[in-house]
């Protein structure tokens, strides 16, 4: 069950999607319960930006059919806040959820470290460079995931939606670190496999997908007026079971195109859904929105995969 991913040995193939599981808040709220069996084999931080961000004005959520439209706006403490305050707390995560054969045989369960993957976002190559160089300096950070679903400040286009820009960005960052670079692809583009290939050409060690699908939500206007945008940030991103079939198609298409490992995610609620993504070519599966409904679901999915291995 143990999985090798970009040189990291993971206890099982289930990790979290960035921004959907707060390991520090979870430790405060659930304490030892969650510590004893951290649900993920690697932990992906929420997106870190150079400067602190408050996030978008509320309302930030809208319940959609079988899913969730969010407009959270990447609130975070900024690079220095993350390094000073969060990194010491995130570096020591361990999991006893070790599904390797030896651990299952033995009466005592081994505790394994949970590698930390830090997700970063900049709006220029220079901003990304500063973030990646900072991460490179910390041994506690096992890998860096690049959130490229941000508009280029000059063109307004998402950096990750344009293969040319994306390849240039990844190539620039590749020179700055030996740590694995994972590119979190945007689904909001005409040709995700072309973007994945561009990331690979630029030197990425892996790609992850899908991010949330661009979406919006309306609320009725006052008496007879047209409906208006509900979310404080204007638009938002759709996630949850509603996007699962889209995710499956995009993960399959990307896995068929690239040779680097793929982290598949989108609407995963069960081991069956995780198995589907592995079957179309993903090396790891990430659980996102479902952890909001049940913070322990990642562990249940990992155990379910273990009980029903690939046929």
């Amino acid at each position: 069950m143990s999985v090798s991913f970009c040189g990291l040995q993971l206890a099982h193939p289930v990790i979290n999607g960035s921004g959907t599981f707060d390991a520090i808040a979870a430790r405060t709220v659930f304490g030892a319960d969650l510590q004893a069996e951290f649900p993920f084999a690697a932990y992906v931080s929420k997106t870190i930006t150079l400067e602190p961000r408050e996030g978008n004005p509320p309302p930030r959520l809208w319940e959609a059919p079988g899913g969730l439209v969010n407009s959270i706006g990447l609130p975070n403490k900024g690079l220095h806040g993350y390094i000073d305050q969060d990194l010491p707390l995130l570096a020591g995560l361990t999991t006893a959820l070790d599904l390797s054969a030896s651990a299952c045989r033995g009466p005592e369960r081994r505790s394994r470290p949970v590698p930390l993957i830090t997700n970063v976002m900049g709006s220029t190559v220079d901003e990304f460079s500063e973030l990646v160089e900072a991460c490179d300096a910390y041994a506690q950070i096992a890998a860096v995931e690049l959130n490229v679903s941000c508009p280029n400040v000059k063109t307004g286009l998402d950096i990750g939606a344009d293969p040319g820009q994306l390849e240039h960005l990844v190539r620039s960052l590749r020179a700055l670190t030996q740590k694995p670079l994972i590119v979190k692809l945007t689904p909001n583009t005409a040709d995700p496999p072309a973007c994945a290939q561009a990331a690979q050409e630029g030197g990425a060690d892996a790609v992850s997908l899908i991010n949330s699908l661009r979406a919006m939500a309306l609320t009725p206007g006052p008496s007879g007026r047209p409906a208006r945008a509900w979310l404080g940030g204007g638009g938002g991103g759709l996630s949850g079971p509603a996007v699962r079939a889209v995710a499956l198609a995009q993960v399959a298409a990307v896995a068929a195109r690239v040779t680097i490992p793929v982290v598949g995610m989108g609407g995963v609620q069960s081991a069956r859904h995780a198995r589907d993504l592995l079957d179309v070519g993903a090396t790891l599966v990430a659980v996102g929105t479902e952890s909001f409904r049940d913070p322990a679901v990642g562990g249940r999915i990992a155990r379910g995969l273990h009980r029903a291995p690939a046929s």
């Binding site: 509320p58 809208w62 609130p75």
Partner: protein, 252 residues
Amino acid sequence: MDFLGAYRVLRVSDPDGPEPEPGQFAMLAAAERWGGGEDERPYLARAFSFARNSGGESHFLLEDVGPGTRRLCELRHGDALWLLGPLGRGFRPPLEGGARAILVGGGVGIAPLAILKDALGDRATALLGFRDGARAQGAALMRDARVATDDGSAGYHGPVTRLLDEELRRDARTVVYACGPAGMLEAVRAMCEERAVPAQLALEAGMACGFGACFGCVVRARDGSYLRVCVDGPVIDAAALERVEEHAGAPA
């Protein structure tokens, strides 16, 4: 499930569950058939304050206002419920022993005040406001509550904040605990600020998770930062807020 006018009291047997503090909440979802209602919802679990907890049984006050609350209202004796809790920071009791407390509730927001009154006993005066007589039957959740209705069909005819004003004129050496619609909470906050009366407000906001992960349930604090209602609240000192904003966004 008990009927209480327009409300229902969902009684959940959970003998091994941790005991909640007054003001804490739980995320609830029906274990079966959660989804497929109006607009193919609900999807997310719903947040409810504990209204009472004794002898291994927790009570929650429900009002059928959307696909999630409707499904919960349909639960029958013996049905399974998914519950995550207790969550959040509850009410802080009055500082000096024996200090008086005034509890101000509006509509389904009276729920956390019932468990608080259980804890405070006779030191607490409960003032409860409702839209109409059917909802005013919810006051039966507490003993000795003064009731106000918008339509005058039960108790005082007018906003519950008028009753609070009367009480504070008589004696402002008290702590106010409030839960209800945003408009009522804002009136309570402003009134208490003007008279320098400490107040604690139990807020409501749309939440995806309830435990600090999604950052969806924020309210703006006086210092400009955002507070997460789920982990920084739901009970927040009124002094920490500039004003209580309308948050009609709680998934129902």
